[in-house]
Symmetry: C2
Subunit: 467 residues, 2 copies
């Protein structure tokens, strides 16, 4: 992961349909070693040359035959955000320190489905879109005073020139810091500008996939989980069913929640209720605990609609015989019998099997962003942020991950830079299991994860300790 200035994400090209993260380009010798007889060797960066920022640990393993290639993709970068040049060539006013920009650290996992195209493209571009969104904020984020509500100059001038002049009248006699608040004005924090920048970066990423999917033959979609470290805070953005947790002094702090047909049922039902044409006369927005048979017409059946969390009985009508918009339970829950995640990037061409009904209107590309302030707590080298795709979490819960983290870390010296990689590998191995006669098995003989598994283990012991 090397520093890369990112100014024109739209100009970069992406042709490879399958590729590994830059930090995982193994030599032929390494690949031979990695290629064990099962075909599911756990891979991690192996030498100092490819050490990741902050000694981050990373490991991955391919699925047990579901697809030829790993549909998970990963990215880890340090990105410089350069202030956008003012078109008028002026320097910023106010107490701008003259800094040209700032760095952010970035880790992301992309879990592809129906092909790896969207995941590969997002892994190469999402950080550039985040950079692009932050470029307008370089001066604002470096200025300790509250962000301006309105930028006084026209849009093309960007954010370089700010003004806190009175809005009611251009009255030169009123000092700007003594202005009475005639207008009710909501305070907006620097933090919420970064959140907005990341949210819009996901949207731009999704738009770019839409625009280039034909020319670049990008197939499928992907869940996206990204962690951005900027000015003392972690911003964890999640769109899909990957998960991030912080383990601090043995305590688990959830840093994301999953977006699935079950967790987003009411949003989807609400949309379908308001826009029934999106259901193409094939689906009903109501949920039922199972399919209804035509001969059950007139009987009473359990249901719930967009307003309900509980269940009630209703008399079965003709319309209820349609397939439910949300159907199935747990990992088998699907939107329109097709897709098991409700947020992510791509999927612009996804349709219900043998129909012309589009799924994309029900999917959101927007992440939920959670913030963790690193400066509010003194962290030790055993405190980590763990990012994992669902291949990890399907078989290993938060508590098990925390106990593996603590177990492995205590067996290495606190200053050993390999210790986080060892944790990542152990997490992947324990979730994959070992190959026995009856498939991949965990120590307790339960089935291991047959999915792609990717894990980042990011130490929180302070960037100063590791950069």
């Amino acid at each position: 992961g090397s520093a890369g200035a990112a100014s024109q994400p739209g100009l970069a090209s992406c042709t490879a349909l399958f590729c590994r993260p830059a930090f995982l380009q193994l030599t032929p010798e390494e690949l031979r070693r990695a290629d064990d007889h099962t075909g599911r060797a756990v891979q991690s960066p192996r030498d100092g040359r490819r050490r990741l920022p902050w000694s981050t640990g990373y490991a991955e393993v391919i699925n047990a035959g579901k697809s030829q290639h790993n549909e998970d993709q990963a990215c880890c970068e340090v990105v410089f955000v350069e202030r956008r040049p003012s078109p008028r060539g002026r320097q910023p006013s106010g107490d701008g320190s003259g800094e040209k920009g700032f760095y952010f650290h970035y880790w992301a996992l992309f879990d592809g489905h129906a092909g790896s195209g969207a995941a590969v493209m997002a892994s190469k571009r999402l950080h550039l879109h985040i950079c692009e969104q932050l470029r307008d904020l370089v001066d604002i984020l470096q200025d300790p005073s509250p962000p301006p509500i309105c930028l006084q100059h026209d849009a093309r001038a960007g954010a370089a020139e700010l003004s806190r002049a009175p809005l009611t009248e251009d009255n030169g006699e009123v000092p700007s810091d003594a202005l009475p608040r005639f207008h009710l004005e909501k305070a907006v924090s620097h933090e919420s500008l970064v959140i907005g920048a990341i949210e819009n970066a996901f949207k731009h990423m999704d738009d770019q996939i839409e625009q280039e999917r034909a020319s670049q033959s990008i197939s499928g979609g992907c869940c996206a989980l990204a962690a951005v470290y900027l000015m003392g805070k972690f911003y964890v953005a999640n769109a899909g069913d990957s998960r991030a947790i912080i383990i601090r002094n043995g305590e688990i702090i959830p840093m994301s929640r999953e977006f699935t047909p079950e967790t987003e049922r009411q949003r989807l039902q609400f949309l379908a209720f308001l826009r029934p044409e999106l259901l193409g006369k094939e689906f009903t927005h109501l949920e039922f605990p199972r399919r209804i048979q035509p001969k059950e017409l007139g009987k009473k059946m359990l249901y719930r609609d967009q307003n309900m969390n509980g269940w009630a009985y209703k008399k079965i009508e003709e319309d209820d015989l349609k397939f439910p918009l949300i159907y199935g339970e747990g990992k088998k829950a699907r939107v329109m019998a097709t897709i098991g995640v409700t947020r992510g990037l791509g999927d612009h061409d996804l349709k219900v099997f043998s129909s012309n009904i589009h799924i994309k209107p029900f999917l959101s590309c927007f992440p939920e962003v959670r913030v963790y302030d690193l400066t509010q707590y003194e962290h030790c080298p055993d405190d980590v942020l763990v990012l994992g795709t669902d291949g990890l979490w399907d078989v290993t819960n938060d508590e098990e991950v925390a106990s593996v983290v603590m177990e492995v870390l205590t067996s290495y010296e606190p200053n050993d830079p390999c210790r986080y990689t060892m944790v990542a590998q152990e997490l992947v191995v324990r979730s994959r299991g070992v190959l026995k006669e009856r498939g991949w098995r965990l120590p307790n003989d339960r089935l291991g994860s047959g999915d792609d598994i990717s894990v980042f283990v990011i130490p929180l012991g302070g960037p100063g300790n590791y950069t």
Copy 2:
């Protein structure tokens, strides 16, 4: 609060536009005592005759002049849910124990606005609607086996006659408990049926207010917070900005969340985005931190839409000069500059001032229901469920309420039935403050609540201790 069978809520009448809860009908002598010189005496039931179930504590105080009458209403009842008679006159099949029904305990607060009509009506009827919804479930809830997904007999027969016969074929040879699950079938718990019953009861209550508002001259709307104790569990249903917390062994367990323009911003923006006609060309679905002036057209301003939690800059366009759907902060936040809560009952005629734009489509009458299982923990007499209208919570936070609860309870014997009333009174007094030259003041000289304040303090020490 006396037990009352409730079979025909639609037949009861409601003519009084202002009334106190039945358990607060004070004698003229009591009223004279209560009527202190400020006009804001705290009122509680005072004698054994009016003792509430479980020795529940209750206290209330009227607002500081906002309205002539208390717009808060309260209700506390023990309701018998009688099985609906089978229209065919048959007895229920299966292991029905022959019980005719069951009781539930019920406490509720209704915080009215723009008149007390909706609050008064809801305080007299909501429990009857809950009873009505539960009547179909009498046998199902008393049967320990999972609720049937489908009721085999026609809708008019109600739930009295259940069948767990196979759905694929009427194959008499297969015993019903050995059926293979050919169909993917979601398990539905008894608990979720009660939640669904309460949710639908709120909807029916709202429909009844709509239907009778003209003939009964019911004005305004109300927030509703109801606690139902049924078969060992508390179901706390909240629609609005009242709040419920449990204090157990000094620990605070939130039992509700508030529904306000700020907490429900994205739902409302989503609706307005999908149904822009509801905004009547006067409002924009975007949120801005303040009003935009026409001369700011073309400049960049902070905004957020239905997908965003953070803020970003956008170039101001003509459409952005409209008033924002959600505007203001904290207690001043409003939907279409009109209403500060987004869930509740009533408000069917509410319109934007001097316009024909209806607010009701943006309001939801559905509560969020949270469940607390009393049997999962051994409760002591100091463990309580506190219900309060926003008059309480605006000036007294969860921690302060918890410390008042503990402080007052320790100064009374654990078996003193008055102790919960003393807590309720103390909570109300501390939130109201005392009248000084500069208005109602708290001990720390901050302004007390000028709003109506109503509080229930319900002991969790087990119904066996108190009934």
